[in-house]
Subunit: 226 residues, 2 copies
Amino acid sequence: MGEEVKLFGAWGSPFSRRVELALKLKSVPFEYIEEDLANKSPLLIQYNPVHKKVPVLLHGSRPVIESTVILEYIDETWDGNCTILPKDPFERAMARFWVKYIDDKLFSAVWMSCWSEGEMQKNFMEQSKEYLGLLENELKGKKFFGGDTIGMVDIAANFIAFWAIVLQEVAGISLINEEKHPILCKWIEEFLSCQVVKECLPEREKLLAYFHDKKEAILDKKAPVY
Amino acid sequence: MGEEVKLFGAWGSPFSRRVELALKLKSVPFEYIEEDLANKSPLLIQYNPVHKKVPVLLHGSRPVIESTVILEYIDETWDGNCTILPKDPFERAMARFWVKYIDDKLFSAVWMSCWSEGEMQKNFMEQSKEYLGLLENELKGKKFFGGDTIGMVDIAANFIAFWAIVLQEVAGISLINEEKHPILCKWIEEFLSCQVVKECLPEREKLLAYFHDKKEAILDKKAPVY
């Protein structure tokens, strides 16, 4: 396992930050390569010809793509001092289910709540409320989704802990708050206070400014939503 | 692992048929429970309160949901005489990538090509063409996506081998054909000729009649697309 590890990422992408966090949790040394998403490098396109997106994990000469696929690859390739997925098959299935739930349901509902207006926004906010409620419920009695330590669901939920909070500020709405989601907010506090998590987040002010700049163009449909 | 296994499925769902196929490949005895999707059973809603969808795999008292999550659970729980995912972490990552590609990209492009009209249909057909081309390429030099034997990608691609062929007939379009996809068509032939696969497919005429009946309502938006 002595082959070189490179991560092609983007500072503001929760998906490449997931991979960064998993590598650090596993104490895997790696070289980070920042991609300019407006002008993607030939290497990124070579390694991810299907989606042409970050993150790409390059292990030796083998590229692995899609953040959730990469997280499982990291867990199966390096022992490190932690496991990203639990050992028990049923608990593994539950973790995979919640990761899929975050990616397929929650992410787009929260994202679209922040980047839409009027009736559409109202509908997305209703959806987000329902989805966040289920996540709140899942956390009951636990410090992290992974139990006492950070696991795959916590890593995948980095978007909720950081990006969603910044986005709701930009949009001037309140999706996640202490009153409605006391357990989720406690988790956010715990998660963001971990040193290794802090190292894998963008600067708050930089992200805020980035989304503020994009807001008008996105709402006017002059820029793509993603 | 002596606990009872039950599968809540629907005859026409490629997703529950995936699980059926995996259980049979692993020689796991199970009880199949057909769900009426127009009138879901209280048990289905109890076991899958989040999505209220088939398939649900009940192992003892523990429900596992989402077909791809269930496939991994089956692979990790029962040894059987085959492995659904390869052993090597990189090959596992590649298989997971293609399964995600089929579910996130190919499925909706093919489905929507068959259930739309005019400009929208043209766009979905263009997308399907691109996505199917990549799948054709992935199969080069291989009998199955899994190599010499059926693996996770083959199981997930059951939709392409059977449902897509029926759907394109109903829609009167040609997405997958011998001329454009000789390798994919050879794979379809190989896949559909396996006895265990045949046991996990709906009757062709029944599925054809089902979609024919639905066609008008779906195109008129009188029925939901999914």
